[in-house]
Amino acid sequence: MSLLEVNGIYGGYGGADILHGVELRVEPGEIVVIIGPNGAGKSTVMKAIFGLVPVREGRILFSGEEITNLRSSIIVRRGMSYVPQEYNVFPSLTVKENLEMGAFIRTDDFSEQLAHVFEIFPPLKDKRRQAAGLLSGGERQMVAIGRALMLTPRLLMLDEPTAGLSPQVVDLIFERIRTINDLGISFLMVEQNAKRALSFAHRGYLMTMGRSRFEDTGPNLLANPDVMEMFLGG
């Protein structure tokens, strides 16, 4: 059974649809990326999966259970976390407080998970008492991903986690995503840097105009001339 299954969803923010029958799935343990030109609806798909954009038609299944149009506060309890592209930390809270907020619904002792997140992102441990709003872009991304990890989700959705970061930091973030993936957590990511993302992921989707056009392994998509043409020609 797929971890996540998106079956022909249509929807948008009210008014005209942005998504026109998107199909995609994530298998347990996979890293899946969505690439595509601007305005293809990549971010919107994620928001629709996470209950932030109404779905008019189609179904979304998570571990075989329907989550279509559920509230995000309920979806997060089912074991899926989402890190938006922007405004993804609480700026006035310290790093540690941000991570604690990620564990808000946990009633057990989460200090082990906290230590674990600090292990994955060592810079956060040194800066745990600093306000998240004062961190660099890369560190903020670490806080955002770390916060999403506090509930030990089965699927982590990242919307352009490397946007606006320097090449070294991009390397680091990708490397960490790999580390987290090795722990058995699946990823669904939107990436602007298509080549980089496809060479990194297990599988990828090319989206244009609200539809998923191509689905294949990363290298195959990269080698497909139609994909590159569509991506660039958009």
Binding site: F50, L52, S72, S73, V76, R77, Y82, P84, Y87, N88, V89, F90, P91, S92, L93, E97, N98, E100, M101, G102, F104, I105, R147, L151
Partner: protein
């Protein structure tokens, strides 16, 4: 000189009462994103709730105080459940007007139950203490100590409890709080409880300083708002500085103008500060 110091003391007492109201107002604004025009009347309700225990049951005021705070919290939560909860996703202006209506209802209710006349907790005159030629009423010391304790308790709550941190998180970014899994409705309930309790505390102190009167809180609304805005609305810590500034400025102004212009002074000061620092003394949100 002694006269200025004397007025300063009055200003500090008034400022601490305004602070208590403004802190709650700012906290509510930060999380619910609307200006609660019923805040002054929530102060009034708190003051009269304490009267129930003092005059009705013969309790001393210090025993009635926590009961009235709890009562203020319950009233605030009840109003939220009945009214504001249904309006959660509407435009802020609708919430603002609704709160105006709530204020009117609370005020009328108080007047209906207790009548329009002035009342006091304990009849009789309090003789002021003479300290270095300054006259200080024992009640003033109680008020000041009470406000300091409540503000410290609030600070500890906001900094060190899970719910307090969640309040700050929601004030930072409501949408992110929701997708993080923070139970926003529960946090909102706690925010109303705190806002209601703080308002009740402010009302009781105001009644100790002056008298109980159905319009007492409504009349304080302007300085309380001025203080909250001055401190950067949505920033409870800024409201402390705002409250003290407004209180001291209001009392100091009586050295030069008729006391009738107190509120005008508070507002003039607010306008000046907003011109110099548009987001308030501590750079609150500009939205």
């Amino acid at each position: 000189m002694i006269e200025i110091l004397q007025v300063l003391i009055f200003g500090i007492v008034l400022g601490s009462i305004i602070t208590l109201g403004a802190v709650g107002l700012s906290l509510l604004f930060g999380i619910l994103r609307f200006a609660n025009f019923a805040h002054g009347d929530m102060m009034t309700v708190g003051a009269y709730l304490a009267l129930v225990f003092v005059a009705g049951l013969g309790w001393p005021i210090y025993a009635a105080f926590p009961m009235a705070l709890a009562g203020g919290a319950v009233v605030a939560i009840a109003i939220d459940r009945v009214l504001y909860k249904r309006l959660r996703r509407t435009a802020p202006v609708i919430l603002l007007i609704s709160s105006f209506g709530v204020g009117l209802m609370l005020r009328s209710l108080v007047q209906f139950i207790w009548g329009p006349q002035s009342l006091v907790y304990e009849p009789g005159i309090q003789f002021p203490l003479e300290i270095f030629g300054l006259r200080i009423k024992p009640d003033h010391l109680v008020i000041l100590a009470g406000v300091i304790i409540l503000v410290i308790l609030l600070h500890l709550f906001l900094q060190y409890t899970k719910m307090g941190k969640a309040m700050r998180a929601m004030s930072d970014n409501m949408d992110l709080a929701e997708i993080t899994g923070i139970e926003t409705e529960r946090v909102i309930m706690w925010t109303w409880a705190l806002g209601g309790a703080l308002a009740a505390g402010a009302g009781i102190f105001l009644a100790m300083d002056t008298r109980l009167q159905p319009f007492m809180g409504w009349n304080m609304l302007l300085p309380v708002f001025a203080a909250a805005i001055m401190g950067g609305i949505g920033k409870p810590y800024g409201a402390i500085a705002g409250g003290m500034t407004v209180g001291i400025a209001e009392e100091m102004s009586t050295l030069f103008f008729s006391p009738a212009y107190k509120s005008a002074v508070a507002f003039a000061l607010m306008v000046i500060i907003l011109i110099v620092r548009p987001t308030g003394l501590f750079g609150g949100r500009s939205r």
